[in-house]
């Protein structure tokens, strides 16, 4: 069964149509890679699924179902707890590492101190950061390196115990080693979560995703198994993009 089912989705920002009639199913426990040049609507799609787009005067038509329930009828904070979004630029909140991880969960319910400690361990350990920061949880998060900050952002989402994790070019500013760490984290977690990975890096999509969708100017051109997509795409534009002829 599809975890997220998108039907006839159109998104407008003022006069610009950012997404045109998108129909797309995201399967449970898959890593769906979304590739495409900038301005193709990839990020808009994530913003709509998380309903962050509502902050910037967008108009949305069509339907998005999460476990067969319309996301537009869900309470917004429970939707955002279930569907986490990780941004391209790692932004840590002011305050300690510990506070960064516990901020999200504490918005949704009250925790005992011991429960929070456990949650922080779980989130940081799962995001492959625990060993590097376990001795300085109370120190400011902004002192971490870029790669560590991005993993902290992932930990922050994991602490919410979400069902879907969406990443918007999570490695765009990171070095290859940090990128490899984040990719291996993703792969090791895909049995428990559903991932949507937006990336400019087609090789990254090829490395981690089970299926890949190609977006161009707000349209979804093609979606297929990763292998098929990179060896034998149906559409010429897909082929041109992944072989580096444009984009």
């Amino acid at each position: 069964m599809a975890k997220i089912s998108i039907k006839n989705l159109n998104v407008f920002y003022k006069n610009i149509q950012a997404l045109k009639n998108i129909n797309l199913d995201v399967e449970t426990n898959e890593i769906l890679g979304i590739i495409g040049p900038s301005n193709s609507g990839k990020s808009s799609l994530l913003q709509v699924i998380n309903r962050l787009s509502e902050m910037n005067n967008s108009k949305v038509t069509g339907e998005i179902l999460l476990d067969n329930e319309s996301i537009f009828s869900l309470p917004i904070n429970s939707l955002r707890k279930r569907v986490g979004l990780i941004f391209a630029t790692p932004t840590v909140l002011p305050g300690s590492i510990y506070k960064n991880v516990t901020y999200g969960p504490k918005l949704h319910k009250k925790f005992k101190k011991s429960e929070l400690d456990e949650l922080v361990y779980f989130a940081l350990n799962t995001a492959d950061l625990w060993n590097e920061v376990k001795d300085r949880l109370q120190e400011s998060a902004s002192k971490l390196s870029g790669g560590q900050q991005q993993r902290l952002c992932i930990a922050r989402i994991l602490a919410l115990k979400p069902e879907v994790i969406m990443m918007d070019e999570p490695c765009s500013g990171l070095d290859p080693i940090s990128t490899a760490k984040i990719e291996s984290t993703m792969v090791s977690l895909k049995d428990k979560y559903t991932f949507i990975l937006v990336t400019n890096n087609t090789k990254q999509a090829a490395r981690v995703s089970s299926r890949v969708a190609f977006f161009l100017s707000g349209e979804m051109i093609e979606i297929d198994k990763t292998e098929k997509m990179f060896t034998n795409p149906k559409d010429k534009r897909t082929n041109d993009y992944i072989s580096g002829r444009f984009g």
Partner: protein, 279 residues
Amino acid sequence: MFKIKPKTTQVIAYSVLLALTVITIAVLVFIILFIFKNGIRELSWSFLTQPTKEMGKEGGILPSIVGTLLVTLFSIIIATPIGVGSAIYLTEYTKGGAIRRIISFGADCLAGMPSIIFGLFGFIFFVIMLKMGWSILSGGLTLAIMILPTIIRTSEEAIKSVPNAYREISYSLGGGKLDTIIKIVLPTALPGILTGVILGIGRAISETAAVIFTAGSSLNMPTSLFSSTRTLAVHFYILAREGISMPKAYGTATVLIIIILLINFIAYRLMHKFISKYY
């Protein structure tokens, strides 16, 4: 054509800017030294702890110290929540529309108003109409209105400078607007807001015209919010203007300046402690 070498331009710019800075500091140092030189010999334990006698010619200034601190404290307690509250409303709840421009314009006008106007208003409104009389209450409320625009504007700038990414992160984790403001925006903006509050304290504590009309000039020790009191600045003004005692006037001014320096020092220390803890 005559051309200055880039290096020479650098040297000129450096020296001009340095000179301007030195002038600024020099004026400050000169004023403080001048007041201290004339006032420091008046300072003594009894000057600080004795009641005022013979209109200020003899005795200490304890009632004025207490009165000054009470009026200032009261005005800050009133003005800070109102000012920060309106700054939050302006930045987080209005979308840069007409309301915001009108309120900001109003606040700017209010900030440029001469303080004697506030004094007159306070006198007519609080002292006479609301029958509060010359009191710490009337004085504090008047000063609160006077420093409100300073607090609103500095808080507004501080809140605006909180990166929008923080808000997005908070929303994306399921935070509501109020959660985001209380847990993310305000703590991040706190140093800037504090700067506004310090500026407000500075204005309130050294104000004469607005308080002389509203808090009165009683030399008795204040016993309640309804007591009239004479703040240090007013005391200094009366001593000097009526030629009662110039040494005592300088002594009073010295105490006032020391209090202001102390408040600033403590506030900046607190701020740095806060900043180094979080950033």
